[in-house]
Amino acid sequence: MTNKISRRAFLKGSITVAGSVAASATGVSAATALTKEKKEPLATLIDISKCIGCEECVYACQESNADKYPNPEKPYPEMFPKRVPVEDWSQKRDVTDRLTPYNWLYIQHATAKVDGEEIELTIPRRCMHCDNPPCVKLCPWGSAKQEDNGLSRIDSDLCLGGSKCKTVCPWDIPQRQTGTGLYLKLLPALAGNGVMYKCDRCYNLLEKGEVPACIESCPEDVQTIGPRSEILAKAHALAKEMNGYIYGEHENGGTNTIYVSPVPFDELNNNIEKRDGQAHFEKVENKMASGNNIAKAMLIAPLAGIAAAAGKFYKAAKEDE
């Protein structure tokens, strides 16, 4: 079919194209404004050289968060298909050598050489509280949330336990407990599998102006909390002083947990136990960066549509002549 162009249609087309360009430009500026508005998050500094591995922080964490832990009721509903794993930690609440739904912080051990001398290092490990946390941003239901102060946490009333947050977490931090949570009220056999748990950086204490339990309880002042820029300045000063190394500043695009160590982190990483529920010290690329770069490129999508329509319009107008 040949498309006939009238003068009226020509004017209408031109106005439409111009309007679309303007609307697209408005969308760009709105998106820029929304993404730029950001408050400074709180970060924690962990001085590995100070940690003596006493586990005071581990027990303080358990005590402070005991009322947030799950109390699943047995028997658990049968899940379909059979491959869906039942993850039950309710009878292993005293496990402290890894992350579990009942243990959100553990002490990692490593031996390393400093100035030719072999030393043992102990390292508190928990959620890194990423600047742009994949666990929060990729949760399909919004059960995981990030607060303005930079902490990320999982809402146990909303989580369905699909474990996507653990899969996308570069450190596999969240841990699942089957037999608890919202999925029991929906389709327990077919969807969901409990609730995911991880460190929430004692958000309830921070709301009251207090510091997280692990920081408060430490007899060696291993951890410090403060605005991220101040914590980074302290971390760099400390690293310079001990001729040490920093981890967490750039990992996954930046985190709100900054480790300072007298030993290179790749060496530490080679000397720590890395089973399920135990975090590594590998270099981590920014997991959300590729998607967000494509999102920026997507801003030209309406323009591509406009260009294609303008091309079609021009061709039809020429044929009409």
Partner: protein
Amino acid sequence: MKKMNIQSYIYGITLFFITLSGFAQMPIFKRYYIADIPGLGWLANFYITHLMHYIFAGIFISLVVYSIIYFIIFKKGFGQIAKDMIIRIIIFSGLILTGSLLVIKNFSGTPFPNGMIIMLNLLHLLFCMALMIFGFYQLIKRKKELLSG
């Protein structure tokens, strides 16, 4: 019966992959063995399907903008098509609006309150379901038209 043009094919392919990658954002393909099918393992990789969803969303937005301008300029006749088109415009607008806000949410920072993010997730899924039901209805309608000659 209306002849399928290249634009319809691109729409079809885009909608298929955007829906597939959208559903892959839920942890279901591994659970239900779909990612075990040779060649479909990528469906269980949330980062791959996330990128794929974004790329096809970009193509989808380009197609919708093109179609809107094309329709306004060449005004291909209302009547019977108009009803279907209004439904399609509502669904597409809903998908693009909720999807765009979810894309903004994925940048660093906390631009929206959590309650709003939950609503956006649910609305995006609802619009997708509505599109699938509507597509199914249109398919049956076309088959009936074909059979009745």
